[in-house]
């Protein structure tokens, strides 16, 4: 029932969009006809329609982008200088609070750990797997299987890994894989996700598991794009496998590696679901995105503090944003 309603609404929405585009174009052509007119009038009308039509095509997208992304960015910055309800100006008090708040400092520290470890390891594994799977006949099957976690939600992945980290008291049979292995080697079982500091790494493993496939797919395409001649020349010069890989191939795909790295970095800054589902920030595993979510609803919600944490995340993203824009304009300049 609900699904039917959704599909009906969806079709109505799509139709409305189609009607909008069709009707606005029709009206434009009706007001400024270019067919059937002669000479100057036709070319004048053509010029006018050509000036207006792009904006008709862009209007819905610009509207949605403004409401859902541009306005909120401005508003969040504004809110970060106001109190919990968003009415009274409090200056930089939210940021003051932030700097003295232990939980915030913990989050920043953890976020930096995530930023150091996750993009590096995901890219590293992705590169290794891409290079290895290109040499074997079942490489594509292997790639599909390693790529698969990409389709799994962070929450689903959290359940999968919580099962692996599951802990039973010493002496009873472990049903979590990790503890079973530890016990098999004679160690004592641990409640992994409650170990302060180290639990961060156990959560990071989940994101690395998900993102390696992404890195692999892109780096594998980049490796295949390397000109054969450079490798052949290296082989003739007597380079061995390692040298070819690290000295000939990797330097040629630095640009792609950087793209993969920054894409994962952005994702890491926004990581929320995994922490919420695994620990909800307990045992010193808090991160910025989860802390922000927490303040949004904690005690009825403190929008000022929540917004100021969001602004911090945004500030961390800005360098990458500028770098992306620069690359994109460089590229389209050549287009």
């Amino acid at each position: 029932m609900q699904l039917i309603a959704a599909i009906v609404t969806m079709i109505a929405g799509v139709l409305a969009c189609a009607v909008y585009f069709w009707a606005t174009n029709f009206i434009l052509d009706w007001i400024f006809p270019s067919k059937g007119l002669s000479g100057a009038a036709a070319s004048r009308n053509l010029r006018i329609t050509n000036a207006i039509r792009p904006w008709l095509f862009l209007a819905p997208a610009l509207f949605a982008l403004t409401i859902y992304l541009i306005y909120p960015v401005v508003q969040s910055v504004w809110l970060s200088f106001h109190d919990r309800g968003g009415q009274n100006f409090v200056g930089a008090r939210n940021y003051d609070w932030m700097l003295s708040d232990g939980e915030f400092r913990q989050s920043i520290f953890n976020n930096f750990l995530w930023l150091l470890v996750v993009p590096a390891l995901s890219t590293f594994f992705g590169l290794i797997i891409a290079a290895l799977t290109d040499r074997i006949w079942w490489g594509n099957i292997a790639k599909t299987l390693i790529f698969m976690p990409m389709a799994i939600s962070f929450v689903g992945a959290a359940v999968i890994w919580k099962f692996i980290y599951d802990y039973r008291a010493e002496g009873s049979e472990q049903i979590g894989l990790l503890n079973a292995i530890v016990v098999a080697f004679g160690g004592a079982p641990q409640a992994w996700i409650t170990l302060p500091f180290w639990n961060n790494f156990f959560l990071m493993v989940i994101l690395i598991w998900i993102q390696t496939g992404f890195a692999m797919v892109i780096l594998s395409a980049a490796l295949r794009g390397i000109p054969e001649e450079t490798i052949e020349a290296a082989v003739i010069d007597g380079a061995n496998g390692w040298q070819i890989f690290f000295k000939i191939m990797v330097p040629q795909i630095w640009g792609t590696i950087a793209v993969v790295w920054t894409t994962i970095t952005i994702l890491v800054l926004k990581v929320f679901d995994i922490v919420l589902a695994m620990t909800n920030g307990q045992w010193q595993s808090q991160v910025l995105a989860n802390l922000m979510f927490d303040w949004m609803f904690r005690g009825g919600g403190d929008f000022g503090r929540g917004a100021s944490i969001a602004v911090v995340i945004m500030i961390l993203v800005i360098p990458i944003m500028i770098w992306n824009i620069r690359n994109a304009t460089k590229e389209s300049g050549g287009h």
Partner: protein, 382 residues
């Protein structure tokens, strides 16, 4: 490389890839296998032992003296230790916790007060006494039972009927499908304008779109929540509606959609469009009749991205749809179950698998488009 060094190297490559593949698939495989196991077995043994016969030590209490029957001048209490457990074998038993495996099945144990306990391999037991037994508590019987591996879909039946997963599945579909379709249409027109229609400010607009690609969702949450509450209050409608979340997903998905589609459309050959224009086709005709059909691969790539993202999303759903019982999407439901049924792995594994099965199907069926989309989205950006 000569053949003699090549061979061990190739083996090393095969082996290390195999190892990596195992590492990457094992977590999911464990979840799937566990979700199909009997819940009693799941709770006491690891999923990697699923095919082995599991042996467990347990204790049961015989019925109390009230249930004794008189037979041939003797008093007898009987029953079956493995009743309701779907088969198994007793390999040892005992009557005290110090020696829980003292007797083999079929043997008779002399209890302290002249009663005799016999347990058969199939779990049947008898307590026989020459005199009438007394006491309100039944005799404790310790036993070691080995249970054959058992697979069942009971966990799924239980989860679908009781844990609210069925409703949430529908909610997720209701969120994901329109959230995928609506942005495509809007973005396609915008992408065409950015790729092929000259107008002042086009380069700046493109830069803005690229910039918006990485704006963290967190920036949007609070202002939009306020906006939705305001709009809801103004029109007297609830603030948390499906319409609201569809539009939110549309807004958040648009930068990527415009960027991907523009890159693709900009790569289409100019001649096609010019010859159509010479034939008198307007931009609108060119877009609908030529560009849109040609862009199908890019549209499919984005559709897959957006579907996976909206289906797997937790944050947008709980903020804009709420965490109420009726409106929870699958990911939200799973988080709730993690909190409330954290130890019930039969519930969690089955629920988790239901939440990931749709994306996995989409992934395996349409992987080609997904890869293509990833490549056009990222490699070109560098």
């Amino acid at each position: 490389m000569n053949p003699s060094t090549r061979s061990p190297l190739t083996w090393a490559v095969h082996l290390s890839v195999l190892l990596l593949v195992l590492l990457w698939t094992m977590p999911t495989a464990g979840l799937l296998i566990s979700s199909l196991r009997d819940k009693d077995q799941l709770a006491v043994s690891g999923w990697w032992t699923a095919l082995a016969t599991s042996s467990r030590n347990a204790v049961a209490r015989a019925p109390s003296a009230d249930s004794q029957v008189e037979r041939d001048g003797k008093f007898v209490i009987s029953g079956n230790l493995l009743e309701g457990q779907g088969g198994g074998q007793i390999s040892a038993f005992g009557f005290s916790s110090r020696e829980p495996a003292k007797f083999k099945p079929g043997e008779t144990a002399e209890l302290n007060d002249g009663e005799r306990l016999t347990v058969q391999a199939d779990g049947g037991f008898e307590i026989v006494s020459d005199t009438k037994m007394e006491g309100s508590r039944g005799q404790r019987i310790f036993y070691t039972a080995s249970t054959p591996p058992r697979f069942t879909i009971d966990n799924y039946i239980e989860v679908l009927s009781a844990a609210g997963i069925g409703t949430s599945f529908l909610n997720s579909l209701t969120v994901a499908i329109p959230s995928t379709v609506i942005p495509i249409l809007i973005a396609a027109f915008a992408a065409y304008a950015l790729a092929w229609m000259p107008f002042p400010g086009r380069a700046i607009l493109l830069a803005v779109v690229v910039g918006l690609l990485v704006v963290p969702l967190q920036m949007s949450l609070i202002p939009l929540l306020q906006l939705y509450n305001g709009v809801g209050a103004f029109f007297g409608v609830p603030a948390k509606t499906y319409m609201g979340i569809w539009l939110a997903h549309t807004g958040f998905g648009l930068p990527l959609a415009i960027y991907l589609l523009r890159n693709y459309m900009a790569g289409l050959p100019r001649e096609i469009m010019e010859s159509a224009r010479v034939d008198g086709a307007s931009d609108f005709d060119i877009f609908v009749k030529i560009i849109l059909p040609l862009s199908f691969p890019a549209l499919a790539s984005f559709a897959i991205f957006q579907f996976l993202w909206t289906w797997n999303d937790l944050l947008v759903a709980i903020v804009f749809l709420g965490a109420g019982e009726d409106s929870l999407v699958l990911t939200g439901r799973l988080v709730n179950l993690l909190g409330s049924r954290g130890g019930n792995w039969e519930i969690l594994t089955a629920s988790a698998f239901i939440t990931i099965v749709v994306p996995l199907i989409v992934f395996f069926a349409l992987q080609r488009y997904l890869v293509r989309g990833l490549l056009s989205g990222s490699v070109k950006g560098g």
